[in-house]
């Protein structure tokens, strides 16, 4: 692993954030399996190093746009468990007062402009956020998360063209987890994904999305360069989703071999591997990591309990927020 953030505190925060995502998803999956969650949701488990490696390179004023598989981005950008679970359960205390749910979770206080249920739907939004920053003289950077499947949407090429022409401070982060729904990436993507960005004059990188330090290292460099006006950039992050496309996608052998899943779980888990490195380098010992794990799991469980008990929005809220007030 490469060296990125160079002190224990940063390492531990990255570790903690990855574990927080995993724990959040484990709880969300349980909520689904026990029929306590309305609708479906898409698990980020397995991809934690991507969101954490990138978001740890960002400030709270930096922005991200997220996807249908958005819990990881949300947690990594600083969100709170309680408000997230409340949102997933449609409760009033949720980040979106229960109106958005899993697929629209947003946390404007931490610069998360929202998950999006339209694949590729946030590519323009991210690019516009970068335009705002540049025009209004702010130094914030925007990261646009999307999947390999989303690279099929023409919108990406439209906005990359403009981002390149206008040198916008935006980083396109393609989470290539090898599948879009039930289809392998090579069946839906011709040519080269990074090559496409390069053809629009955008510097593009490929990185191991399971290596949080490698991701963070690259992200720090690119974020700094964006702040200096050298954007946009494109990163393809090789990663894997452990669960099905969504929580209900249980029998998936017809499109994805069990062996492949096992290989990633066993040898490429971002949390396990980072833990190994941390202990091998003598930065922390296993006991400390275990404590962190336990703490976070407890946190997650109590946030779930809180959310289950929390109240639904009043029916009068149904036609509130259709329009914003104009003073």
């Amino acid at each position: 692993m490469t060296d990125a953030k160079t002190n224990t505190e940063d390492y531990l925060r990255m570790y903690r954030q990855m574990v927080r995502i995993r724990s959040f998803e484990d709880q969300a999956n349980q909520l689904y399996l026990s029929a306590k969650m309305p609708g479906l949701t898409h698990m980020y488990s397995g991809e934690e190093a991507v969101a954490v490696g990138i978001c740890e390179a960002l400030k709270v004023t930096d922005k991200i746009t997220s996807t249908h598989r958005g819990h990881g981005h949300c947690v990594a950008k600083g969100a709170d468990f309680k408000q997230m679970f409340c949102e997933l359960l449609g409760k009033e205390e949720g980040y979106c007062r229960g109106k958005g749910g899993s697929m629209h979770i947003a946390d404007q206080s931490n610069g998360n402009l929202g998950a999006n249920a339209i694949v590729g739907g946030s590519m323009g939004i991210a690019t516009g956020s970068a335009l705002s920053a540049k025009r209004l003289g702010r130094d914030d950077v925007t990261v646009c998360f999307f999947g390999d499947g989303a690279t099929a949407q023409g919108l990406l090429y439209e906005v990359m063209n403009m981002a390149a022409l206008w040198s916008l401070p935006v980083i396109y982060a393609c989470e290539n987890n090898g599948y879009s729904e039930y289809t392998r990436t090579d069946e839906i993507a011709a040519g080269s994904i990074v090559g496409r960005a390069e053809a629009f004059g955008i510097e593009a990188f490929k990185v191991d999305g399971q290596d949080v330090l490698a991701v963070n290292d690259l992200a720090q460099t690119l974020v700094a360069r964006c702040r200096k006006g050298e954007g946009p950039f494109f990163i393809e992050l090789e990663t894997y989703r452990y669960h099905g496309h969504h929580v209900g996608d249980i029998n998936r052998e017809y499109y994805r071999p069990k062996d492949e899943e096992k290989e990633w779980h066993t040898n490429r888990d971002p949390i396990t591997n980072f833990a190994k490195w941390l202990t091998a380098e003598g930065i922390v010992d296993q006991a400390e990591l275990d404590t962190i794990q336990t703490e976070i799991k407890t946190d997650a469980a109590s946030a779930v309990a809180y959310a289950l008990d929390a109240k639904y929005p009043d029916v009068s809220e149904v036609d509130m927020h259709v329009f914003a007030e104009t003073p």
């Binding site: 309305p38 609708g39 479906l40 449609g90 409760k91 979106c96 007062r97 229960g98 109106k99 958005g100 749910g101 899993s102 697929m103 629209h104 999006n116 249920a117 339209i118 694949v119 590729g120 739907g121 499947g149 989303a150 099929a152 949407q153 023409g154 879009s180 729904e181 039930y182 289809t183 069946e187 839906i188 993507a189 017809y254 499109y255 639904y312 929005p313 029916v315 809220e317 149904v318 036609d319 259709v322």
Partner: protein, 330 residues
């Protein structure tokens, strides 16, 4: 008669038509091995091969455009659009291209394609996966719009759509995919523009589309228990729209409620109500009442979502008011 689900009915219609006509192919995201997320097209790729059951990348404008071009050149594509909400992504190809090509070419080019998609809320899928957007495409001349209200209609309308030489958009209610109905084996063609009188009645006409036909039927039962006789009409296609049947019913009952799951404003209920007024005004004892989905983005929270759509109780309540001659904001 044999009962099958709406999902099976759709599958059967596609399979039967594909067997009949080599020029038909199915195209969309995860329609082949996966059989779509709703498992509607399962088995088709095994019978017809990947050459005729074509998985696409996530590029709705692209594959819709491809379908239009294929339709112009001898193919009869069936496009699977996974959620009705994604219709916003393909509006240019659907409304600027497919809908207008026959007219703009002075009748020389045809676009015989079927766009199958869905509609319907209360699935906890939030604002971008719950819309019922048929009204907006119905506004565009050159498109026919079918709204099956059961497995029976799903099969019969889809088969008719596939044989139609025009672009046809079919909205299936995703909440009804597992609902069963009597569907005859083999050939079943339901003509476009012919409404179905689902239940006869003499006091009030309830016009419902898609799943709102069931809502209307349930309301009719509630009302029957109170001695109010409601006639229930399912237009089946909203373009073309069988106003003859609806007018005849309303001229008999003198009262009407129109129920549709699209947003109420600028929606299907407005069209039917205003046409009724123009065509049967002097037969009406009271205003035609519109009941659509609330004019709000569909909220995720179950506590809010359920109140956004018309219910049998709500329909019955309005029917009682109409019967009592109560004024509506009058």
């Amino acid at each position: 008669m044999r009962q099958i689900t709406l999902s099976t009915a759709v599958n059967e219609a596609i399979a039967e038509e594909m067997r009949r006509d080599e020029t038909i192919f199915l195209i969309g995201e995860d329609v082949a091995e996966a059989g779509t997320p709703f498992k509607i097209t399962s088995g088709l790729v095994e019978e017809f091969g990947t050459d005729r059951v074509i998985d696409t990348p996530i590029a709705e404008p692209g594959f819709m455009g491809i379908a239009v071009g294929a339709a112009m050149t001898g193919s009869r594509p069936i496009v699977d659009l996974m959620f009705g909400d994604f219709i916003f992504l393909i509006m240019d190809q659907l409304c600027n291209q497919a809908a207008k090509t026959h007219y703009m070419s002075g009748g020389k080019l045809n676009v015989p394609l079927v766009l199958r998609t869905n509609m319907g809320a209360t699935r906890r899928s939030a604002a971008q996966h719950s819309q019922s957007l048929h009204a907006i495409v119905a506004h565009i001349p050159g498109l026919k719009i079918a709204m099956p209200s059961s497995a029976f209609e799903a099969k019969g309308l889809l088969k008719t759509a596939i044989r139609d030489n025009n672009p046809v958009v079919i909205f299936e209610d995703k909440l009804m995919y597992q609902d069963k109905a009597d569907v005859p084996e083999g050939e079943l063609l339901i003509p476009f523009g012919v409404a179905n009188v689902k239940r006869e009645g003499s006091d009030i006409t309830l016009v419902g589309t898609s799943s709102m036909v069931q809502v209307a039927e349930k309301a009719a039962e509630i009302l029957a228990a109170e001695g109010i006789s409601a006639e229930v009409i399912d237009p089946r296609t909203i373009v073309p729209l069988d106003m003859d049947t609806i007018n005849a019913s309303v001229r008999k009952t003198s009262r009407c409620i129109v129920i549709d799951e699209g947003h109420q404003s600028f929606g299907v209920t407005s069209e039917i109500a205003s046409r009724l007024m123009e065509e049967s005004f002097y037969h009406l004892d009271g205003p035609v009442i519109r009941m659509g989905a609330m004019d709000v983005p569909i909220p995720f929270s179950p506590a809010l979502e359920d109140i956004t759509v018309p219910t049998p109780e709500g329909v019955a309540a309005n029917a009682r008011k109409l019967m009592a001659g109560e004024m509506f904001n009058g």
